[in-house]
Symmetry: C2
Subunit: 413 residues, 2 copies
């Protein structure tokens, strides 16, 4: 059961002109589940992405990067389709894995009448096992057959792995009196950590955005959403966040310095944050949604470092799971964050509105009963003030429960 | 139940001339358990220590550092006694915590007829709570009353927190035809990570070692033992490893370049590794003892970085708990270690003697049944070859089980 994250309502997921989605059951790993998704884009579309920082990045990630950089060079070859499979990550598979990812692109390109370099492949699932590329390719015609603009909910279901529910949301904003519609989906529940969170995320919008502007937009949006979450501190081999501007409206964004760019960025960040938070709310075994905010640091980097040290600490996470205000563990996690010159005598800490630590020690008026009251909630904000600068950062995470161990001790069975 | 770690046998723990140990039940946190230990040293003793890198280092750690540096300056004030309490870490306690640690030293100094600066205080337990210093001081006379050289087993019991059994071992070696006897104790079961592992470790030996030589010896021994373990990647506020040379034998080590120094170092490292591994074997909820060795790296630092990335990965640890050869998770953990220029196409990986990954991909002859066979063992070595240099490093860790969550969700209750 995700934490305060109701199921998306299919009728509230808005179609985005210029992108069609088709899915099927290809039997990649298990029978009777949607595991293959195709997205087909209008010829006017631009596409940009951010990918995992894991050095063992999967074969499809390598192919995506190569095809996207070819697009950038040869604008005559815009990205025309995306293909996503679950059940197998095609990572740690060496040369044969690369061949399988390329064969997938070749096959889809033939079916759609474009070049292989116009296809982006994505995989998620078990690492170090051979992708059953024949079954994948055999499934493509059936996925292509049901391509439609209305399939966002099914698409969100088709990319699930250990997710307990599909993740999808839409936004509509008005820029220069024109309506911009955007819809996104995401997946991911474990192996979640920044750079990037282990996840797939796709957002499409019907505005026209030039390639360099979209490249900038996807990075900014990712840094403020998917790169601010953690479930277990592990970083997957397959993380990908893709932003698609289908270019089907007459509105065009060509300048990152414009007011229109800012308005679009705000909307994309808002949608990306919702999708990213859905991943945390559905984190493996999650029972609590935790916001960790670090303020008054000397740099954003050090604020993120402290926030992640807290968010990834198993002892902090188990205390939250237990609703136990064992808040000394928060100090431990701040202290071990690796800020060599941190003066802990300046640190203040709040749990929601409760002032727990003042100048590095227990606040004289702090009562355990107040900490206990906050810890019982399902959503809790830990606010840490370093009192040494003006920078701040926020990270979203979840607790560590028995269910996390159960899920990850059984994942492949 | 610790992993392959039988209870120490009291009669095999050798007294070390020049150090007496006394314990009592002071009721620091819970009734009816030994929670206070006093060690009294011969006037000839030298003492050196290594302490936590956590910026929120506890009040007793601050006092220890100050008293040890005073010793170094004024050799007329050698360390005369150590006092250790469990049940309360005296960390995150600000100025009043410092006052409590100093009051402890004052009181013990008065009882023993020395100066407060000749006493080293240690605490372990809950963070952010006030140390009940009155109960601690009230317990000192009873601990002093039973000071004897034979109390090592009781001493090991007296410093336990979530440990399921006491940790102690002895060594006897011959240097220059003289017998050197050393005995050590350790504690720690969670909040364990390098710099330092969350733990207390004390080793005493009856040799005479000059202060600068002992300072070097404690660092070298720590780097090859307590700084090579991890249970959960968290770093405590109170870690301390103390090496005591009681100076009661006629053998004196005065030169770090001598053969005698090397012989002594080997013995201390061997004992410290055994004590450190006892901590891992008794790791909270541990069911497996894992050795992670990284070889052929370009520096020891990068080997340690990769080894810790694997050792601390929750997904790796849960796979080991499940005896599931889901070995792609090992690649994930190698890839996320932060080695920016790592060429994964050079990486080989062995599980015990089974060659799993060759040149970055699944070895063509690797059979899951072989991986399964190794994963079922209670002691497993993961050997990673980076094939880019000559450096190597080893880290010892344990798996992540349901029991870890249970223990840490209940620790304070």
């Amino acid at each position: 059961m995700p934490v305060n994250s109701p199921l998306p309502i299919p009728s509230q997921l808005l179609p985005v002109k210029g992108i069609q989605l088709g899915f099927t059951q290809a039997g990649i790993r298990k029978a009777d589940r949607k595991d293959l998704l195709v997205m087909k884009l209008a010829p006017t579309a631009t596409v940009a992405g951010v990918f995992t920082a894991n050095r063992f990045c999967a074969a499809p990630v390598q192919v995506c990067k190569s095809h996207l950089s070819a697009t950038a060079v040869k604008s005559s070859l815009p990205i025309h389709a995306l293909v996503i499979n679950t059940g197998n990550a095609n990572a740690g598979t060496g040369e044969s894995g690369l061949a399988a990812a390329n064969a997938t692109c070749d096959a889809l390109a033939k079916f759609l009448g474009c070049e292989a370099a116009q296809v982006l492949p994505f995989s998620t699932g078990v690492i170090l096992e051979t992708l059953p590329v024949d079954r994948l390719i055999a499934g493509l015609p059936s996925a292509i057959e049901n391509l439609t603009e209305d399939n966002w909910y099914h698409a969100a279901e088709a990319i699930m792995t250990t997710d307990t529910q599909p993740k999808a949301a839409s936004r509509q904003i008005t820029i220069r009196k024109q309506t911009v519609t955007m819809t996104g989906i995401s997946k991911g529940a474990g192996m979640i950590m920044p750079n990037m969170a282990t996840m797939l995320g796709f957002i499409a919008m019907d505005v026209k955005v030039t390639q360099p502007v979209l490249d900038q937009l996807v990075k900014e949006a990712c840094n403020r959403s998917f790169n601010c979450i953690s479930i277990d501190g592990d970083t997957s081999t397959n993380d990908s966040f893709i932003l698609i501007a289908t270019g089907t409206s007459s509105l065009e964004i060509t300048d990152t310095g414009s007011a229109e760019y800012d308005e679009l960025l705000q909307a994309v960040v808002s949608l990306a944050q919702e999708l990213a938070q859905m991943i945390v709310r559905d984190g493996e075994g999650a029972t609590k949604f935790m916001t960790v905010t670090v303020e008054e640091g000397s740099s954003i980097e050090e604020c993120r470092q402290v926030a992640y040290s807290v968010a990834n600490s198993p002892l902090v996470k188990t205390a939250f799971f237990a609703s136990d205000p064992n808040l000394g563990r928060l100090l431990m996690a701040i202290g071990k964050a690796g800020i060599a010159d941190l003066d802990v005598a300046l640190v203040d800490l709040y749990l929601d509105e409760v002032w727990v630590v003042k100048q590095g020690g227990r606040h004289p008026e702090y009562q355990e009963s107040d900490g206990q009251r906050v810890m019982k909630k399902s959503e809790i904000t830990t606010r840490i003030l370093l009192n040494r600068g003006t920078a701040s950062a926020t990270v979203w995470t979840c607790d560590l429960s028995h269910e996390y161990v159960t899920i990850n001790a059984d994942y492949r069975s």
